[in-house]
Assembly symmetry: C2
Homo-oligomer: 344 residues x 2
DNA sequence: GATGTGAACGTAAGCGCTTTCGTAAGCGCT
DNA sequence: AGCGCTTACGAAAGCGCTTACGTTCACATC
């Protein structure tokens, strides 16, 4: 007895046979390439649909030398800042019929390189790298070199929020934003400030701090008197920073967190300790993550258009590469809410 | 003059030539397959590293018939619930050396099918589908059929939070959780309840509501007297629901939101209207997203281990398929915080 | 010393597509 | 009828890998 051995999946050949055409015609019909009469093309498509044929992407990419997919590298997808960027990339990518590979690095430079390599291996058409780069020149150079090779092989790269990689970039106005938020606090009359920040080894943070320093200098406040507390760039880090500030610098009247996540942690500690915000201490954030406006008190912060930044970055990456790296600034906006007020 | 035409990217052949071995030996060396002496294998690897060779994943997948990548389907990656699940999948996936393709559907059933097909086309080794399914049997059947074909072709599937697809599943205790949160509120003495929920056409929501109904019945509260307000399953939907509840049912003393996002929106509206929580109205959430504990008032909710659920789902999907679909329940935990108290 | 054995390596046949090139047929023109 | 031109299609050559199978050679066995 003969056992009819069934293939696991349909091939283009099966569709072609069923439609009574050659494999070449079938391929052209399905991809919409010219050189096939409309009637034949339509018949092939109908047959394929009925059979439930799904083309093998690997075979297609190998033969065509291109792939309809893009890569996205983020620090941590659970972080709302990156989640929103990812949402933007996924939205535009979906519209363009691209699949998106997401990698997260946990802010580990080695892992970042590894992830980039993996994306290169996948011959993704474009790579979007979100999140701060490293101030360390050696790390920058390593990333730069890998990306350079990828681009020479025809890959496209865009980054969000770092400007040292020689590729197209979407740049949030970190320095201007840092300046704006500090100016707001200074204008309210605060003079004894603390800053809660993540590692200064990240460019984003360095930029934001630079803005704060500018504003202080302009207002005649010696930046050296500003207490800069470095902790994790997370809610937990914010809590630790807040406790440290309260313990060591009880006279501070305003705490500037360098992202909303830290600010949320800070608010939480102040609330637990019964400290009035903004009555005794004003608190500010940075990013304007979705929840910032719904906190109590709602958070004064700098709005960055994360979703749009994700879209723009992918857009840049999909464009014909320019001779010189393009820069696209993403605007910032000071959003004044209830967490800031004049010093008590 | 002869122009040396340079290849865009290195091939395995180039490495083999440089190392003075055949392409087969090179392949075996790099993949760690047996049949190569250690010295030769090491030399090949060293040469490959020095040349910066990165294997073409498409060629590899095509030849080997497998791919080291998995797909993740979520409703919306910007939603913290899904972002945390994604984080779990990415974490475990990264550990296993898998790349992860993320698709989001915007809660659109057609788009979900489309995304699943795209993943099938990519011959991903496994697919994890997160998020509620549709109660509608026709939609269920369509998804089920596509997945069935994929599994017959050797693909693995696991789902999170839906139990109708005949595949391995990680099931959050939605009904038990709904019951627990309602019991908590009822035990505090509340009798005039409102529920703010997303579309009841989603299984997750139907399950949670069923739990609430159970608790009400057990406590002798007629579920028909509970005001169930259906809106978007988001912060914005929570605000709309809250306004409607305040306008139409001002005597309500507790609002049960069917996820934290809605609860945050509700808290925000109550705060704006100067309504004391929990003094006049108690509010509960569901999920325990990261920010829930740092809100003011902090949110009483049901904790679901999202990150772990993501990991477990991928784990299930990577295992040898069992004869019968496996079920793995993810525990729930009532987290009582400051947003609930006895009715005023 | 003939023979079997296994390890180490090379040859070549695909994997399922895309795309170049060749060919046949249909068309209008002289 | 003969010519060139266009259009529609098929044959076949890859894309860059993996892997079944063949070959070689060192070594142990009788």
């Amino acid at each position: 007895m003969q056992v009819s051995r069934q293939r696991a999946t349909l091939r283009l050949q099966d569709v072609a046979t069923a439609a009574g055409v050659s494999i070449a015609t079938a391929s052209r019909s399905l991809s919409g390439a010219p050189g096939v009469s409309d009637t034949v093309a339509e018949r092939v498509r109908e047959v394929a649909r009925q059979m439930g044929y799904v083309a093998n992407v690997h075979a297609r990419s190998l033969a065509a030398g291109t792939s309809r997919s893009v890569g996205l590298v983020v620090h941590e997808i659970g972080d709302p800042y990156f989640a929103e960027i990812a949402s933007g990339v996924l939205r535009l990518g979906g519209e363009e019929g691209l699949t998106v590979q997401i990698c997260h690095t946990g802010r580990d430079p080695d892992k970042e390189l590894e992830q980039i390599r993996s994306l290169v291996a996948h011959r993704v058409g474009a790579i979007v790298i979100a999140g701060s780069g490293f101030v360390d020149p050696a790390l920058q150079a390593a990333a730069r070199q890998d990306l350079q090779a990828y681009r020479e092989a025809g890959g496209r790269v865009a980054v969000i929020g770092r400007h040292h990689l020689g590729v197209d970039a979407v740049l949030p106005e970190n320095t201007k934003g840092g300046r704006a938020i500090a100016e707001h606090v200074l204008a309210l009359g605060h003079r004894r400030l603390a800053v809660a920040t993540g590692s200064r080894g990240l460019t984003t943070i360095a930029d934001r701090l630079a803005g704060v320093e500018e504003a202080c200098t302009a207002a005649g406040v010696d930046f050296a008197t500003v207490q800069v507390i470095e902790a994790e760039f997370t809610r937990a880090g914010g809590k630790i920073a807040a406790e440290q500030i309260l313990a060591e610098h009880p006279d501070v009247t305003a705490i500037l967190a360098m992202n909303d996540d830290m600010a949320i942690g800070i608010l939480s500690v102040l609330r637990l300790q019964g400290i009035d915000v903004p009555g005794r201490i004003s608190v500010t954030g940075f990013d304007d993550v979705a929840v910032a406006g719904d906190l109590a008190p709602s958070l004064t912060t700098i709005r960055l258009p994360m979703l749009t930044m994700g879209e723009h970055a992918l857009e840049l990456a999909l464009k014909e590469p320019a001779a010189r790296p393009r820069r696209r600034t993403a605007g910032h906006e000071l959003v004044v809410r209830d967490s800031t007020g004049p010093p008590g």
